[in-house]
């Protein structure tokens, strides 16, 4: 080891706390990067692997009733390699002890032979015996959400007849990784997917020799769009509801969005950590170079060239970075494992698979080294520029000047101590700015990491208290005359009824198309309203359709354009509709019309397909019991239950991320504040010790140093609030958000929390530094030249 390397080791050792604090900031950046992106790639792999092994279908379609003979024609569609037809029916489900109605999706399945597509994985229990009537397997998520036991009995309404089913096993399927009745929210407690013997199900619904659901697998490279088009044409005469490719399959779509979020988190937040680490390294190295002016001059005088000395300081930075990278890789691996585990559980992937790809480690280390060298370079340039002859002279005494406030004649307002603090800040504005920026960065990360629960709360509040104010929504099996509302109004506890009409539709504009529903509300609707992100109410203009902005963008249309609407129900009208406007709704991909416009467009009379009810909570139970007995009320949704389920599922994930991000942000805050304080202390030890000699107490001296930090923190917090707001906006903009657009809502407690964490980090740093101030060696410090 050369003497210079020995110096390096001892320098590092003497600054060990600072070295570790910087390394930790780097580790958080790398850890976040590796953790999020390895989770992303592991989940993408798991999804792909699961889809492959379960032979997940490429195209999905439903129809009213198509003859089995159609299968051959479907098989003949170019690009189709396999076809599977089945019977799928939604019906009311009741379990003893649960009042709100649940929905069961019954899927016919041939348990005697392995399915060609969407294969089930048995998670517990056993398969129904072939041909056994009344035995079912259920999706694992429902069993868990409802805490059911195998062997449990439940009742479903099969074609108007109450049928008793027995739960014999639980399964996983790629088709319902997210089980939902169609909305964007998981709905595990109220929506069960049951697989039962195919023949028995067909018999129960008079669907023998027929099917109403088709799955396709395509040949490699075949166009999913072309297959969707062709399948739509074949199914049209049989009441086809429009086929979709895998990318529009609800479960896959939500899953993909959820996974993609990791990529955004994994790139945006770590970038800030590395930036802050570069800042701190820059300041620390600058300080190191300044403090070692004499040593650098001596080395130059001894004949060391600039390169050797620059390399020496670069090595100093590299050791810190490599320490940070090593910690970061460990942290990232731990985090990736934990998050992948969390998601694997959440998605119920059959296998846990976590892999840290080497390129992530290389990219993370490269980014950290790049950021660090960027930060170090300016300081090292100072080493090269330093002329040895100049460095041998002690640095010129720092130039101070009266403060702005003093120049304005208000000098009397400040005590001498305050004046020292302020002048010091004014003299090194760049360093003060760097410190402030670093602390503000940690405030921003805290806000951007934890505001999600605010956004979700606000979203839920808007969605369930302002947009959908009905407490209970009823969906009818078939359109009914508008007068049905009076019948509903007579039910127990019903205070208000509002009818709605929804028709499944495929909207086309040029080569783009999207399957959704045309929805109509009554003109005077109060229980369901169309609100934009600013909570302004919108109404469809007469004779036109009002589109959610996201849907208009997806279709590439603007107000004034026309879209081709193909109704997938009733008379299956196909006609042009004028886009009257767009509305930036928070949720859904909706197409709104006035009720009479929609019924006229569909060439139907005054019919409705659903209703929203305002009810008396005390009589809710009785109402729900009555609704269960009404065959026409095919779907009953109690909004409150949806909200509860959503809160529960999101709370667990949000808590984990908040904890991790808080730890990370506190690391940054401590890293910045502590290093800043240490540097100040080193630079001003002489001054502070002199004051102690003059009779200042330890407390008074501490105020001089820590007062400056307190001011910096005070300045950083509001800046951090603003930066956090911006960062949150950036994250929201980058997040995939087809179904739901989260609003930029940050609550006061979130700001308070972020401020408090940073203040706490400041206090901890101050206490460590205070200990050093208390132990200032008055005599020793005064003896040294610097």
């Amino acid at each position: 080891m050369t003497s210079l390397d020995r110096k390096l080791m001892r320098d590092l050792w003497s600054l060990k706390t600072q070295v570790v604090s910087i390394a930790l900031v780097i580790a958080c950046g790398i850890g976040g990067f590796i953790g999020s992106l390895s989770t992303y790639s592991s989940l993408v792999w798991s999804r792909g692997h699961y889809y492959d092994t379960a032979r997940f279908a490429h195209v999905f379609a439903t129809a009213k009733r198509a003859p089995a003979s159609l299968t051959q024609k479907i098989h003949a569609i170019p690009g189709v390699s396999e076809v599977e037809t089945r019977v799928v029916r939604d019906s009311q489900l009741s379990i003893p002890g649960v009042t709100p109605p649940m929905i069961a999706r019954l899927i016919g399945y041939d348990f005697a032979r392995p399915a060609g597509m969407n294969r089930l994985t048995l998670k517990s229990g056993r398969w129904p015996a072939p041909g056994a009537k009344g035995e079912v397997v259920v999706n694992q998520r429902f069993l868990e959400a409802r805490s059911l036991k195998l062997g449990q009995h439940m009742n479903v309404l099969l074609n108007g007849k109450l049928e008793r089913l027995q739960l014999v096993g639980t399964v996983l399927t790629p088709e319902y990784i997210y089980a939902t009745r169609g909305g964007g929210m998981p709905d595990d407690e109220w929506f069960a997917v049951l697989w039962t013997d195919a023949q028995a199900l067909a018999a129960a619904f008079n669907m023998e020799g027929a099917f109403n659901s088709v799955l396709l697998r395509l040949q490699r490279g075949a166009s999913s769009e072309a297959a969707v088009e062709a399948l739509d044409r074949l199914l049209e005469p049989y009441g086809g509801f429009g086929a979709v490719g895998r990318e529009d399959q609800v479960s896959d779509k939500i899953l993909t969005q959820e996974i993609s979020q990791q990529r955004v988190f994994g790139t945006v937040l770590p970038a800030i950590f590395l930036l802050v680490a570069a800042f701190i390294l820059n300041v620390v190295l600058h300080r190191q170079v300044n403090a070692q002016r004499g040593e650098i001059a001596a080395l130059k005088a001894l004949g060391y060239d600039d390169l050797a000395i620059a390399w020496h300081y670069l090595k100093f930075a590299s050791v810190i970075v490599l320490l940070g990278v090593a910690l970061g890789v460990w942290l990232g691996n731990w985090l990736g494992n934990a998050m992948t585990g969390l998601y694997t559980d959440f998605f119920h992937f059959p296998e846990f698979h976590y892999r840290l790809e080497p390129w992530l480690v290389l990219a993370g280390a490269g980014a950290a080294l790049g950021a660090a060298f960027g930060g170090a370079l300016a300081a090292i340039r100072g080493v090269v520029r330093l002329r040895a002859a100049e460095a041998l002279r002690p640095p010129a005494p720092a130039a101070f000047r009266p403060l702005m406030i003093e120049r304005l004649g208000y000098a009397g307002l400040l005590t001498p101590a305050q004046r020292m603090i302020m002048r010091n800040l004014e003299r090194k504005p760049l360093r003060a700015a760097t410190t402030v920026a670093g602390i503000a960065g940690s405030v921003a990360i805290l806000i951007a990491g934890t505001f999600w629960s605010d956004a979700i709360e606000w979203f839920m509040d808007v969605q369930f208290n302002m947009v959908q104010r009905a407490q209970v929504n009823v969906g009818f099996a078939e359109p009914v005359p508008r007068e049905a509302r009076w019948e509903l109004a007579r039910l127990p506890g019903v205070k208000q009824v509002e009818v709605t009409r929804a028709i499944p539709v495929r909207l086309r504009a040029g080569h783009r198309s999207y399957r959704t529903a045309l929805i109509a509300l009554a003109d005077d609707a109060l229980l369901q309203r169309i609100l934009d992100a600013e909570l302004r109410e919108a109404k469809p203009a007469p004779g036109s359709v009002l589109l959610t902005t996201r849907l208009a963008e997806r279709l590439g249309v603007a107000p004034g354009d026309e879209v081709m609407a193909e109704l997938l129900e009733g008379k299956r009208v196909k006609s042009w509709l004028r886009v009257g406007g767009t509305v930036r709704e928070l949720a859904g991909m909706n197409a709104w019309m006035r009720l009479e416009d929609l019924n006229r467009f569909a060439r139907e009379g005054a019919v409705v397909s659903g209703a929203g009810l305002l009810v008396d909570r005390a009589q809710e139970g009785a109402l729900l019991e009555r609704l269960k007995q009404m065959p026409a009320a095919a779907v009953v949704i109690v909004n409150r239950t949806l909200v509860d389920t959503f809160r529960e599922t999101s709370a667990k994930n949000v808590l984990f991320f908040t904890a991790i991000l808080s730890a990370f942000a506190a690391t940054i805050a401590v890293g910045v504040v502590y290093n800043s304080a240490r540097i100040q202390l080193a630079e001003r030890a002489w001054e502070l010790a002199s004051l102690r000699v003059l009779g200042f107490t330890r407390g008074e001296v501490s105020v001089l140093l820590l007062g400056e930090l307190a001011l910096e923190i005070a300045a950083a917090i509001p800046l951090g609030f603003a930066a956090g707001y911006g960062l949150a906006a950036l994250l929201l903009a980058l997040m995939p958000h087809e179904m739901i657009e989260f609003p930029l809502i940050i609550s006061r407690p979130t700001y308070l929390y972020a401020g408090a964490v940073v203040v706490a980090a400041g206090v901890v740093s101050a206490l460590i530094v205070r200990n050093r101030i208390d132990n200032l060696d008055m005599v020793g410090v005064l003896k040294t030249r610097e």
Binding site: T2, S3, L4, R6, K7, R10, D11, S14, G294, E295, A297, A298, L299, K300, A301, L302, G303, Y304, D305, D306, A308, R387, A388, A389, L392, R785
Partner: protein, 235 residues
């Protein structure tokens, strides 16, 4: 008399200090011969350190010409000056400029690591009488001892010239004399050309030649009739 080691002609040096210009050297002509012991005397601001730094390749003159043996120092770039310092010059500073995180031996090893034909650290340190304190850190050494480590560090490369800027400036009388003895010994026994800057006129008794600087110029030159040993001088 031997070939001059240093030959300087019409050296000037102008520093910019904010808005004003400082003329540190205003036309210095100088020849120094191998093995000479030169003392540079002069009040503060007379240009002594500037001259020493230029001769040692730490600084360059604004105008004029300076040569070390066959090396042209004026116009040499940073790399050439670095090589020049590395191969030929030993420096001793008033405040020692030791690396506090390295022991005496390791401070000397800084030089032996990069020099062409150095003596060992231990040998250099025993030259200055510190053979027993090899593994002490600067903070564990007295001022005089620290200065002797700095001298050991300077001579370990067997330099042709030893340039000392106020080597006793920070030391007490006894310690100062001890350090001067070491410098005289190196000059006498190794034949190293020595140049010592000082405020202290008493030290001029040790010199072969005394150059007096004032206001950036050489204002006087004396050759003592008899070179005194450090033991013989007092102040």
């Amino acid at each position: 008399m031997s070939e001059p080691v240093f030959r300087a002609r019409a050296l000037t040096k102008v520093y910019r200090m904010g808005e004003s210009e400082v003329h540190a050297l205003r036309g210095v002509d100088l020849e120094i011969h191998a093995g000479e012991f030169i003392v540079l005397l002069g009040p503060s601001g007379s240009g002594k350190s500037t001259l020493l730094n230029i001769l040692g390749g730490l600084d360059t003159p604004t105008t004029g010409d300076v040569r070390f043996l066959e090396h042209q120092l004026t116009g040499a770039d940073e790399a050439e000056l670095t090589r020049y310092r590395r191969e030929h010059v030993g420096f001793v500073f008033q405040f020692y400029n030791l690396i506090p995180s390295l022991t005496a031996r390791e401070n000397v090893a800084l030089v032996t690591d990069i020099a062409v034909d150095p003596m060992s650290s231990a040998e250099a340190l025993s030259w200055v009488g510190l053979g027993e304190r090899l593994d002490h850190f600067p903070s564990q050494l007295s001022g005089g001892e620290q200065q002797r480590v700095a001298i050991a560090r300077a001579i370990a490369k067997r330099p042709q010239v030893l340039l000392c800027d106020e080597p006793t400036g920070a030391l007490d009388y006894e310690t100062g004399k001890l350090v001067l003895e070491v410098i005289a010994k190196i000059n006498a026994e190794l034949g190293t050309t020595a140049m010592v800057i000082t405020h202290n006129a008493a030290i001029s008794g040790m010199a072969d030649r005394v150059l007096r600087l004032g206001n950036g110029k050489i204002v006087g030159e004396e050759k003592p009739e008899r070179k005194l040993t450090p033991a013989e001088i007092s102040w």
